[in-house]
Subunit: 206 residues, 4 copies
DNA sequence: CATGAATGAGAATTCATTCAT
DNA sequence: CATGAATGAATTCTCATTCAT
């Protein structure tokens, strides 16, 4: 007997998740150009042709990956950044949490690293809109929190947009270059040192 | 009459520079996988076959680009980091100078961004050795200077290797993500804010 | 509905045979260097890309062709050489049969002609091993039969390895050089004359 | 002061010999398709471009190589085959001498092996004429001598054209297949065994 | 829906030949 | 004449995508 439409939908959604997960992994390992649809299919444990039942092409697949991960990041951020703690505390929580997340999925940070590189190739003309959305959905909460911390005098007065971008860049960059063996071997220390640099700077303040 | 060996050498050297320059440009725009030998040839204003007169293949060409740029970076670093000023001053000079360089050669920072991504593909088994060399030649002087600044009490005590990597990552990351329109429009302010974050942290110290 | 694995296997096997047959033909016409993958595809009546679905590259394709033909030759030889007739009779049958086979498949002898030329290019470092195997699988039965004929006094005492090689070389060489119009026009006579030279020599024995 | 025309001619001829020698060597190692003009130039110790002062292209170069070697072979044959000894003795001398020559230039035999393969590619439409000439100049003396040996009853009555071709093929084939280590290690024995097979056959005649 | 076979456009690479000096 | 730099046509090979079952 044929499946009900809901069953079909459910199967379809589950398959999509399977594919999305595989695509995300392959993507963080290789980037857009170098990732191969065959690898995605293999990792998702489905046939190569099956991918194309769910996604018209590589581009559309990656758009979905991007959308999903951006949404996830947005939710995570919202959760951490909208508590009723002091702004500076919320910021520290957010970044510490993200660094800890890197630890559990060591290639996770690469997602954002690659995202900004590939966004124009994947979205073509609508890339600007996507970046705009990213700014609204993902940066905005961060920016607002930075602003609050500026307002309550806990951090220095700075253009909050620029601050957010610089801070975010520095944060993504930290695990991105050179080997991460130190990060993996002494994660606690590494994370605290990274937090210190970002929040307190390297100078000794007397 | 044939050209003299010196003439040939000169031609070869000039042509190599031409190719290296073109390859560097294309590389910083596209990365290893996406750059096409045809683009390099076109940008260098030579025939596609001529590339192969000078470089056995794409990999060897990129190895030469890497070697050249790493060498250049090493020399620049040495110059700035070995003055007789106080360590903290030298560090600030170095990073400020690098950020100013980014301003004049907007794709320059991408080189390092891509380098760490592609090093394994380009060098295969010897990638680890290359990274080792990079650490020795390029990180070492920085690390030493950090150590000196720690020793004279101007910066906080931290594992200098980790510090160097974190700092470098943050520094590369800052201009690497999202649009750089702000950077291009208000370079002076942007640079000073970046310097502040890196050296003083974002917190207000009373 | 997807094909069953057996169906796929069958398709794969059939396609491989198609390709192997085409490759063999093109190879015996041109040799390794000059054969073009495009010709093979065309002769096999498949797309150029499909070749690479089945064989990683030209080299691997030829390795399979070699393996197949060597195996076939081995089986043919075994069949003819292991009857319970007198050794000399078996030898004569074997070579006469091979010459008749040449007649029906005029390019067949070229396979061995080219094989020894290309084996080093196709197998690189393992070429020696392949030749060793060839000697074991294909020469051995012949050698053994020669030895038996020596033992029963029907042929002259000679080092059987050298004898096999010389004999085989002479046998391959006979149809290999100059035009074969005579061979095609008077196959029976040609074959008998070749057999005479090889087995009785050209001298008249009184 | 400029060279005299004769001097120029002499230089030209010497250069040509240099090139011809190099081309012959490369050819016997690789065959027509696989030999590279660069290798010829290198072996001849001249510039790549210089080749083209002497030969319009690869084809013309090889035609000259062929012509030269065929001429040499013809002269050698004439010398050995036109003594006043018995025909059978002359034939044995000729082939023994050729086998000894192989010993000194181990790839020499390949020349004829490749020649018949490449003649059509190198000469295109005139290939038939070239083969005709080869038959006239190189085979004819051999054929005549075979005929004489048939006439004086020392060898069996056979169609002399076919005999020549079969014999020649067998003779070229002997050193051509499988490794020639035995040939190089025990040349005397190898040659005598080869002579025996060709002239006396492998059967024991009582 | 599911699948792997099939495909061809496109990229890397080779190498005989031409050309400027 | 001599040379090596320069070139592009021809070839191998890759991989996203389509197709038959």
């Amino acid at each position: 007997m044929p499946r009900t439409p809901e069953q079909n939908n459910q199967i379809r959604q589950q398959r999509k998740n399977q594919i999305l997960g595989a695509a995300f992994e392959v993507y963080t390992e290789k980037g857009f150009q170098s990732m191969e649809m065959g690898d995605v299919a293999q990792k998702a444990d489905i046939g190569r042709g099956t991918l194309y039942h769910y996604y018209k092409n590589k581009t559309m697949l990656m758009r979905d990956v991007f959308a999903l991960k951006l949404e996830e990041a947005k939710i995570t951020a919202a959760k951490t950044l909208s508590t009723d703690q002091k702004p500076i505390i919320r910021l520290e929580s957010f970044f510490r949490q993200e660094l800890i997340a890197h630890l559990h999925h060591p290639l996770r940070y690469r997602f954002f690293k690659y995202f900004f590189e590939d966004v124009h190739e994947v979205y073509a003309d609508s890339a600007e809109k996507v970046l705009q959305d990213f700014e609204t959905n993902n940066y905005q909460p961060l920016m607002t929190t930075f602003q609050q911390a500026i307002d309550d005098g806990t951090i220095k007065a700075m253009n909050p947009t620029r601050l957010t971008q610089l801070f975010w860049g520095a944060f993504i960059g930290m695990p991105a270059y050179i080997d991460n063996s130190d990060f993996l071997q002494n994660p606690q220390e590494w994370i605290e040192d990274a937090m210190t640099i970002l929040f307190d700077g390297i100078k000794k303040h007397t």
